[in-house]
Amino acid sequence: MPAIFTVDPRSGIPLYLQLIEQVKRAVALGTLDSGEQLPTVKALALDLTINPNTVARAYRDLEREGVIETSPGRGSFIRSNGATGESRRAVTDVAAAALDDAVREARNLGLPSAEVETLFKRALGRWFSAREEA
């Protein structure tokens, strides 16, 4: 299992929510395929150096939301269907939060909204045209 998850313990977002979001993101990006096995609670807790109860809680919530399924003795797996809609929504949420932070920071630094819009369009042009050329 490659190290696909990272968490930031200093963030105000609870670690189990960070982990849930990361699993959904990995599913949406195809880093985790349906049917793929997740690390055990202990392995992931050691890998991320976080409390095993935090990992267990994230897995329980992911199971309730239908993103993963856990069979006793075998482990936790990405569910073959039903997970994609939820995961795509999670990706939109992550992107929205990142954009929100960037815009707030620009305002805090004292830029007027017109200038922020110019910067936003420049960034949009840079990243999206680069993608098209590639």
Partner: protein, 300 residues
């Protein structure tokens, strides 16, 4: 119903007229990791000693898995004191052997694994070990009995960052195996990662207690950025919900307990360029909890 693993009820410990621990009540649930934070002299070590029956409480009661502490408690409970309790003239191997003879739960294979993890030579005399190696040896002895309950008083003291991480890994490994852990630390980052629950002591009293997520959710920073300088705030900081304020340049920051949105609105009325409500990390929360009362100049 499961029994609370460590239950401390209204514990007070006085040395003469000095009250080291005052009315401490704390429950550590099975399989959880509880981190005890506090400045030096806050009473953490005294609390641990009382919990383990090494100091007699002046008042209050303590139970481990529902029963008073007896010598038998130590077959399943391991304690790593902050102070070095090793014998200087004995070797590492002799300590391990002493541990094997005195505790029926001692697992020689586990001891070997741990000696290898910490790269400790059995033949070395304790007086030749560094401070960090002594800490490591005490941890090895504690973990060799595969304890159900671990009480660690600053388990990382004297260790370099690599071995600090090893200690954290060992705690996580033990917890994943079902052990219950109570530990104190000055490494707030460790507590933030590993603990389910955090208890903060100040001058012998419990000043804050909750899950890491609860504590982080209970406080916010309201940050206002002003055009030129921070104006007179009309006694805003006298608001009891504001724990502490900071002003740096054009930025005013209020650390608030609840009511963050309302305080943000009041600040907004003073015409700043922007107002935001931000999250805190555990270190900020700790500093707020142990800080002295707000100084009068904050209330302008």
């Amino acid at each position: 119903m499961t029994l609370t693993t460590i239950s401390v009820h209204d514990l007070t410990k006085r040395y003469g007229s000095f009250e080291a621990v005052s009315h401490l009540t704390l429950d550590v649930e099975p399989g959880s990791i509880c981190g005890l934070l506090g400045p030096n002299g806050a009473g953490k070590t005294t609390a641990f000693k009382c919990i383990l029956g090494l100091a007699r409480p002046t008042a209050g009661s303590i139970a481990i898995e529902g029963a008073p502490v007896t010598p038998k408690t130590f077959e399943t409970t391991a304690y790593v004191p902050e102070r070095n309790v090793l014998h200087e003239w004995m070797t590492v191997g002799e300590h391990v052997e002493l541990n094997r003879r005195s505790n029926p739960k001692h697992d020689p294979k586990r001891a070997d694994e741990l000696l290898a993890t910490f790269k400790l030579d059995r033949r070395k005399k304790v007086k030749r070990l560094s401070k960090g190696q002594k800490t490591a040896l005490m941890l090895i002895l504690a973990l060799s009995i595969r304890p159900r309950i671990l009480v660690l008083d600053e388990p990382s003291s004297g260790l370099d960052p690599i071995f600090q991480r090893v200690v954290l890994d060992l705690m996580i490994d033990a917890a994943a195996g079902g052990a219950t852990i109570l530990f104190s630390s000055h490494q707030i980052g460790q507590v933030e990662r590993a603990a389910d629950r955090v208890a903060i002591l100040k001058q012998g009293r419990l000043v804050l207690d909750g899950t890491v997520d609860e504590l982080k959710g209970s406080q916010k920073i309201v940050e206002a950025i002003f055009e030129d300088s921070v104006p007179s705030l009309n006694g805003l900081a006298a608001d009891a919900r504001i724990l502490r304020v900071e002003r740096v340049g054009r930025v005013y920051r209020a650390y608030v307990r609840e009511g963050g949105d309302e305080i943000a609105r009041r600040l907004d009325a003073l015409g700043p360029k922007s107002v935001s409500v931000l999250d805190l990390n555990l270190e900020d929360i700790f500093l707020n909890a142990v800080a002295d009362a707000k100084s009068p100049e904050d209330t302008i």
